[in-house]
Point group: C2
Chain length 306, copies 2
């Protein structure tokens, strides 16, 4: 039995090293240098070439290298019967939440205004805090952690997701209740999984339903956001600005207007970078579970897409 890592263009040597550290007996093959396709029972994927999994006849399990699985589900040649797991762990959650809290506080406490005033040597003590009501879209492991931590910092936080939920300790809206959700908030954090239902959800129609001056943080996927619509909404004042870590095309192309916008902060998809030391024990545990026919950790539902 062997594990294959397929993540073209990414240096995965730290993953191989970490597998050896945790269990030196596990045989690891790294795409494109495959020695023995027949022996592969587990594939670890990030942006794999579509259709390639057909070459591994004995595959029993697919693991995402990160929290998202959209890059796997977009490969229509993967059979529904093959279980897929994702990474859920503090190694992803803590940096993600800290990134989101940073973006939230910089807007709430008007960091960019103070930075601009500093350049002009202006001492302006007025309005030290914007009244900020936070809406978190996507309340899974990552979104749920953001909600708890922003609540602990004293924010009013509202949640929105696809499915009904009861007993949340925050006001929660789902499905068609999007307008009511938007009515309650003026800072929106997109942490949704990318599915056909959520693709392009952050569009001009959405922005025009927001309270005037709403701020947008996107740490989910570039395809959640219609990028031209954001520029239009900022131009007309519907949206006051945005903090974006993900883009439809990454790296963000040189000619992209986001680079030059003084209302948009661009970071290079670094909100949460999978740490092999946190992720690999989960992969190894699932490797054992699949061998012993036990229920898997963090298995996703292929139909729902998360």
């Amino acid at each position: 039995m062997s594990i294959v890592i397929i993540s073209p263009g990414r240096d995965v040597s730290s993953w191989v090293k970490t597998f050896n550290k945790f269990d030196p007996k596990i045989d690891i093959q790294v795409f494109p240098d495959i020695r023995d396709k027949e022996s592969v029972e587990l594939a670890i994927l990030w942006q794999h070439p579509k259709g390639i999994l057909k070459e591994f006849p004995n595959l029993k399990l697919i693991c995402s290298m990160g929290a998202g699985v959209d890059h796997i589900l977009s490969d229509s040649e993967i059979p529904l019967s093959l279980p897929i797991t994702r990474i859920v762990d503090p190694g992803l959650t803590i940096p993600m939440t800290n990134y989101v809290v940073m973006a939230t506080l910089n807007h709430h406490r008007q960091l960019y205004r103070y930075q601009s005033n500093q350049k002009k040597k202006v001492w302006d003590m007025s309005d030290p805090e914007l009244e900020t009501k936070v809406g978190v879209m996507g309340v899974g492991a990552l979104g749920g952690d953001v909600i708890q931590k922003l609540k602990f910092l004293g924010f009013s936080v509202f949640g929105y997701g696809n499915s009904p939920k009861s007993n949340t300790d925050y006001p929660y809206f789902h499905g068609d209740e999007l307008p009511q959700f938007l009515n309650n908030v003026n800072l929106i954090i997109c942490m949704l999984p990318l599915t056909p239902l959520t693709e392009n959800i952050l569009n001009l129609d959405f922005f025009r339903k927001c309270n005037k001056g709403t701020y947008i943080i996107n740490v989910a996927r570039g395809n959640h956001l219609v990028e031209d619509d954001l520029l239009t909404a900022i131009g007309e004042g519907t949206i006051s600005g945005a903090f974006l870590d993900v883009f439809r095309k990454e790296p963000l192309p040189q000619e992209h207007p986001f680079w030059n916008s003084d209302k948009i902060t661009v970071t290079p998809h670094i909100a949460s970078v999978t740490n092999p030391n946190s992720a690999i024990p989960q992969v190894i545990e699932n490797y054992k579970r699949i061998k012993n026919h036990k229920p898997l950790l963090n298995q996703i539902n292929q139909i729902l897409g998360y």
Copy 2:
């Protein structure tokens, strides 16, 4: 019985309005328009003219308008027998902590590097997090809240203060243990009270005891920091940068070198601005307690200075 508010150059109309809202029977006089000095039993102060309290023969209590009392204690004509209280409440704590968390996260997640890269259209995913160990100097009501919230966000946090403390749920150092404290941390948040013991504590000797590249956040008082020494320490690389809300002279003079430093973020003393709605109920409660000879809320020790 009457209350006097002495805060020269500051618009206190919202304080007067809020007093009227909570208790319209309380007589309020605002310096310099004093009708009846004899009737004044309580003085609310912020940067009062030194010596002025001698004019109120029946004064029984002094309340600071904020968390700090150094502006009161620096008036040597105030008798030790007169009790002094300060404001301790979530209205001050939440903004202060959020400001400090923002400054901490912006350093930890390298916001300034990403802002600079955005200007140059550079997509650089390397080193998404600096390893950050936080040291909080001053672990009272405000510092203690910062410690609990940074711990909840996943940071290693160490405390330092003047007095011994037991049973803290974080490593705590006091007095002479400053070098051991500094050895454990690489981001320092100054939240100390300003006393003769702590004035100028952030000086070149202190900075040279820090781990190389330590980052400084000062939200306490300008007089904690020897400003030229910070510039020297940044110049020699001992200190990597600073986020400063308080200065020896405020507003920060136009010719001050901090305005132009790309390693220093300047904000205009807005980390925590007293909200009359939170503060005044405490003042009113102490007004009742002093009349009824009951122990006061948030009374400070004039000898310790906090």
